[in-house]
């Protein structure tokens, strides 16, 4: 069994209203010195593949077909 951690984040320059709103909320709570807050989506995909290499290829296809939109997203895959 392998677990793939997929991290989907917004490309540099793409607006992140959720991150900006969270930053504002944290500042309103009194936290000081905050530079930025970014939202990131993480999927843990549990697979019964034997070979991590093959599994990673399949996860890459999952990212292309569903998990990320290349217009605004970068994604990275970590096999655990």
């Amino acid at each position: 069994m392998v677990i793939a951690e997929v991290r989907v984040e917004l490309k540099k320059g793409v607006a992140d209203p959720e991150g900006k709103n969270t930053l504002k909320a944290l500042e309103l709570l009194g936290f000081e010195g905050l530079k930025d807050v970014k939202t990131v989506k993480v999927f843990d995909i549990v697979m019964d593949d034997k070979s991590p290499g093959e599994a990673e290829k399949r996860v890459d296809e999952m990212c292309r077909r569903l998990l990320a939109n290349p217009v605004i997203h970068n994604y990275s895959i970590k096999m655990k």
Binding site: K11, G13, V14, A15, D16, P17, E18, K20, N21, R64, R65, L66, L67, N69, P70, V71, I72
Partner: protein, 276 residues
């Protein structure tokens, strides 16, 4: 083809919630609409008598809602499921000149599927655009004013006069149309050259204006686009919600007549009557 012969496929999955209004609009105009679940087209987990063929319909409608809970990204799951099983049928449908309408979540689905903007070919392999989170970071539910900027390519707006401002309500959290940042300007120019931009968010004077006139911060205030042939059309606001005048928010103060959204449905029927 007469309206009474036109079969309209109003396609839904779990989480779609505007199929009734879309169905009612087409029914009212005398066509034969049918609410069809995606599984009926793909033929999975349905009884034989429930199976349907996309090619039996003349118009495909992807209604609004929150398909598959808007998980992953709005419209992404519906799009991926459709693309994995129905790619060929969809491409054939578009190539034969049959019209596809995507409203709100339907627009998000068309973009995620690659059927819009379809800068080259009928359906791109990966999305060429995205409907991202509104600049306000929240769900925007308000009447919006749309100016028709299309010069005649779009099959869904032929009965709307150029530059006419229509009141069509918006209700979405992810409606900001975006293109890859580094080539956004070039893409918008190309869309203009191809006459693919259909509606823009404006103020009452018809000027491109910021929030709240533009509810989401969309690139160039774009509210709706079509493919190069004009038979695939997607928009964030809901024309089916203002099919009748009495569902307009200001109906007691405006002159009698049809709702502003009705012309979208009449236009496509006129297109089908002429072309199919």
């Amino acid at each position: 083809m007469k309206a009474s012969q036109v079969k309209v496929c109003v396609l839904r999955i779990e989480g779609t919630n505007c199929e009734e209004e879309s169905f009612a609009a087409f029914k009212r105009l005398g066509t034969r609409p049918e609410k069809v679940h995606l599984k009926q087209l793909t033929g999975t987990d349905v009884a034989h008598e429930e199976k349907r063929n996309l090619s039996d319909y003349q118009i495909l409608v992807l209604p609004g809602g929150f398909s598959a809970g808007d998980y992953v990204r709005a419209g992404a799951i519906f799009a991926a499921r459709m693309k994995s099983k129905l790619s060929k049928d969809l491409v054939g449908f578009v190539k034969s000149g049959k019209p596809i309408l995507g409203i709100c979540n339907g627009f998000q689905i068309l973009v995620e599927t690659g059927l819009l903007p379809a800068m080259s070919g009928v359906m791109s392999e990966v999305p060429e655009a995205v409907l991202g989170t509104n600049d306000s970071g929240r769900f925007e539910c308000r009447p919006t004013l749309l100016r028709k900027v299309n010069k005649g390519s779009c099959a869904f707006t032929s009965r709307i006069s150029p530059d006419k401002i229509s009141l069509i309500p918006s209700a979405h959290a992810e409606g900001k149309l975006m293109f890859p940042l580094e080539k956004a300007k070039k893409i918008v120019r190309e869309l203009e050259d191809n006459d693919q931009i259909v509606f823009k968010y404006v103020d009452p004077e018809g000027n491109l204006a910021g929030y709240p006139w533009c509810p989401n911060g969309s690139t160039d205030n774009i509210a709706g686009i079509c493919n190069r042939e004009g038979n695939v059309f997607g928009l964030m606001p809901h024309p089916e919600r203002v099919f009748f005048r009495f569902t307009h928010p200001d109906w007691t103060r405006s002159p009698d007549g049809p709702g502003d959204g009705k012309a979208v449905f009449e236009s496509v029927l006129e297109y089908v009557a002429k072309k199919l």
